[in-house]
Symmetry: C2
Subunit: 319 residues, 2 copies
Amino acid sequence: MNKGHIDTSKPVAIVGAGLVGAGWAIAFARAGLAVRVYDANARIAEAAIPWATGQLRALHAHGLIDESPETVAGRLQMVDSLEAAISDAAYVQESVLERLDVKRKLMTDIDAVADADVIIGSSSSGMPASAFSCDLTISPRVIIAHPVNPPYLVPVVELVPSTQTVAETTAFVEKLMVGIGQSVVRVRKEIEGFVLNRLQAALLREAWALQRDGVASCEDIDKTVRDGLGWRWSFMGPFETIDLNAPEGVADYARRLGPLYYSIAKSRVDDGPWDPELIARVEHDRRQHLPADELAARRNWRDAKLMEFAARQVESGES
Amino acid sequence: MNKGHIDTSKPVAIVGAGLVGAGWAIAFARAGLAVRVYDANARIAEAAIPWATGQLRALHAHGLIDESPETVAGRLQMVDSLEAAISDAAYVQESVLERLDVKRKLMTDIDAVADADVIIGSSSSGMPASAFSCDLTISPRVIIAHPVNPPYLVPVVELVPSTQTVAETTAFVEKLMVGIGQSVVRVRKEIEGFVLNRLQAALLREAWALQRDGVASCEDIDKTVRDGLGWRWSFMGPFETIDLNAPEGVADYARRLGPLYYSIAKSRVDDGPWDPELIARVEHDRRQHLPADELAARRNWRDAKLMEFAARQVESGES
């Protein structure tokens, strides 16, 4: 995952330094870029670099960075204003709260102080950029660059232009992301949830419905994925999986199994939002397997598993 | 994955020795059981043991069996009639063609020759047992035991009783499957596609719709899963993933993201079966990445990746 240095003399700016923003800071600094970090919330701002340094130590322990954690952390600079962050920056990655009014306010604030050529990526996980980035001077240079958390471990990033984004912006951000080692997905039409969260939404909706209807417990549904479907999806994705699952490939598969899948789809009608009673049942089901006071420890376990996963990808030449 | 010998003095019978049946034969023989293999098609019958022996050599090369491939293969015995296969067997795993009339015919044939206490598992991947196993002497002793292919690598198996299956049958098959190292999912109500294929159907339906609508290519959708969603699902499953993705756990997550996911679900209405034109487009898209004459080689690559995956599960104590 250590991709060597990217050819850019200008720094990158991180605006919003919570888990997502601080994660992006690691991804850029690891690739050799100077990174300015800003958060309007002083408490979040103070925590960002110490947290990132801790993560860099863990990455180093897993063989995921060659340089010392301190060398990489030395590329991170906390600044105390939006203007100081983005002034002279080549690229701004914003990761502020996922709320339309907050994103729009930030875009107008950036518009007021941005250089004429800065490119801006938004970490929005589902709201299309056209909903908050249009009709400003910067509009042609704003694009969604949606990561999975944490972006320094899981490589996928969705690029979604707004109706006003120009092609040069998309090309710039694609090159930048590939350069720092991310795996770029081009989303060609604005759609709520983009690709990643729409796929997750579809699977989760079925999972919640199966739990609600008493077909299987949360734990048994999790097992079905982690001991079954998830193995192939973790190195092939859904289309390659089915392409290899019928003698003549994907069209053969679709002719054999399409009717079953369509019958299943028709049987799952709109069954309303997850109501409080269902949420309480799922919560109860999960807490049997993981008490609330062990959530934090289990997150650390997950992050260690993701680091092992990433280290194996490097070993096998997949990354 | 080498689970040691199961305590049973009676053999297991494999009926239907295509890829799924021969895969089951490996899973049982590896665990130390004597396995009788039968297929009504002489060509398939002849190929089964040589193929299984080749797979056992690959498993040995990946450190997934301790015994020699020949020792394990020595537990496989080809027989030339249904009666010879199931006579005195403790358990029959049927993996004949996924068609209602074929499954029903086999059940009546088994009923005519079965001992009073033999237990029968069906590899049906989506048809509930009540559709083909009822109103026979053996009915209380028939249950769905649906594997992922290949069952000797991917551990999940769905157990789905019919309306006439007795609890002792479910308990017997669960114990047998756990004993040979499978991961058992209990499906508590009969539903088309069970849990595994319903989850896969939900994700595939969204994936095909995104491709059809020009939102993303097959390759970009595959990337979204294999470089993103699939990493966490391969060791956590969907419920644990979201449980760890909000500060207060799954209920917190549902309150934050439930409205987005419901909005996405509502936007995906019944849009008909995959029509021939769409199937042709997906086929074309896939063939750009994998020519038809490389499908077989890519399947070997997949199986090697699954063996690596299985070997790592053993190393990390997850299996």
